[in-house]
Amino acid sequence: MRGWTGPLVVLAMVVATAAVARIGRSMVPFALAVIPLVASILLINTFLFPGATDVIVRIGPLTPTWTGLEAALQATLRVAAFALSVAVFALTTPTDDLLADLERRGLGRRGIFVIGAAIGMIPRMAERASEITDSQRARGLDTEGSPWRRVRGVVPLAGPLIISALSEVEERTMALEARAFSAPGRRTTLRRLPDSSSQRVIRWAAGLGAIVAVAASLAGFLPLP
């Protein structure tokens, strides 16, 4: 079971958590997003695993192997376990709650700002990219149709998008300074999130469990990863 236990346990926990949180349907886009990566893992490992000789079937010059297929499936499980656990986290934890709690636990204002601004910037950059694309379309740029045309459409988008973002940096910096961002001392925490004793027990148990599992695996008692 070495190679299977770890990702299977994580996946089982992720599925159970998603079921309890009733976010199964919302996780579908996250699962679909890893398909290209999973496909490349399956193809490369199955067909090109170095040193494997247990050929499944010969297809002309291609020789998929059982060893490669096993490695590919294990890697796929790990990718899926990682991606879906991130999805569960993202879908069950509002960003402002996360930042509020991190701040309460002592993360500095700059750290909070970097995380918060980076997360908040994604939809705004998407909006701006859409505006730039629309304005360039209005001036005759063809960004629809074949994949090649779409790729060509990205090039004139990148310049204005990056330059406009950079041009705002100075004004943003000054606006932050004008709002006492560099003031010394600790910021006021607006709210304290509910943290029941059962949540605390589960959190500590999860942390301790992870340490025990890694230690047991290193000592040879548990077939991980």
Binding site: I112, A117, M174, A178, A183, G185, T188
Partner: protein
């Protein structure tokens, strides 16, 4: 005196070009002083210097004296200057923290940076929303507001610091007439409450409506300063690339046609505030 500049001369870091040259300027509590001038005349730089951000936050060389609330800005750190003087830029989008999910939290961003008690933060936020009359926006996403609303939120965020002085750098340049009117009304209320306001603005109609005094800045120097009505009627405004307010244009046109006396008793300053239809017989003025 909320702001007193004497011989303020400034050059940006890395250049020798003097952008402000010996500027003298006074802004008293409860007064609105507007700055007009052509592009590249140093208006935005004047804002940064007046607010204590230049050179403290952006570097550069400042000589002369800039006193905010009795203290030289050269001795103030940016967060200390922020509590005396708030600054509002042209683009409301760049002034939002980017980390708040509601307008209420956005307004709390500055007071929280000062480490005030949560009760004090809440009190300041509520007071700023009341002053700017944006209580109805409290739960809205600050990134999903109209231009005028976003600029009012940005202004309220600055007001929540309770500065005695406000510096506004073309706050209505990206706003439509309705948004401009909202900001103008808010400025009038702030001045009434005793806040000193330094307003850089291209829309001279708004300047005419809210400013007590107007400074014409040209090439980094104060060309003229005086009561709003006098400076805005100065025929040299056109030479310097500044559009006179509609009332001044109408007055001049009628005077040129020999009908200046027909306007006696009519307040043309109201022209910017709301649409007015002028009717009358031919030759009626």
């Amino acid at each position: 005196m909320s702001l007193q500049m004497r011989g303020a001369t400034y050059a940006y870091a890395g250049t020798k070009a003097i952008v402000l040259a010996g500027v003298d300027l006074d802004v008293e509590p409860g007064r609105v002083v507007a700055v007009v001038g052509p592009n590249e005349s140093g208006k935005s730089t004047l804002c940064l210097v007046a607010a204590g951000l230049a050179p403290a936050a952006i570097g550069g060389r400042l000589s002369g004296s800039v006193v905010l609330d009795g203290q030289e800005t050269a001795t103030l750190k940016p967060h200390e200057a922020a509590q005396r003087c708030g600054i509002l830029f042209q683009n409301p989008a760049t002034q939002l923290s980017g980390t708040s999910v509601t307008v209420w939290e956005e307004l709390a961003f500055g007071p929280r940076n000062l480490g005030l008690s949560i009760e004090e933060v809440a009190e300041r936020v509520e007071a700023a929303m009341a002053t700017l009359q944006i209580g109805s926006l409290a739960e809205r996403d600050p990134h999903r507001l109209s231009g005028g609303q976003a600029q009012l939120v940005a202004l309220a965020s600055v007001v929540a610091h309770r500065p005695t002085m406000l510096v506004l750098d073309e706050p209505t340049s990206q706003l439509d007439p309705a948004g401009t009117r909202l900001v103008g009304d808010a400025l009038a209320r702030l001045a009434e409450s005793g806040t000193a306001v330094l307003l850089v603005e291209h829309k001279t109609g708004l300047v005419e409506r809210v400013a007590d005094q107007v400074v014409l800045l040209v090439g980094g120097r104060v060309e003229t300063v005086g009561p709003a009505a006098t400076v805005l009627a100065d025929p040299r405004l056109d030479e310097f690339g500044v559009d006179p307010p509609p009332s001044a244009r109408i007055t001049r046109a009628l005077a040129a046609a020999g009908h200046a006396d027909r306007l006696a008793g009519i307040d043309l300053g109201a022209l910017e505030a709301e649409p007015i239809a002028a009717v009358g017989p031919g030759g009626g003025g």
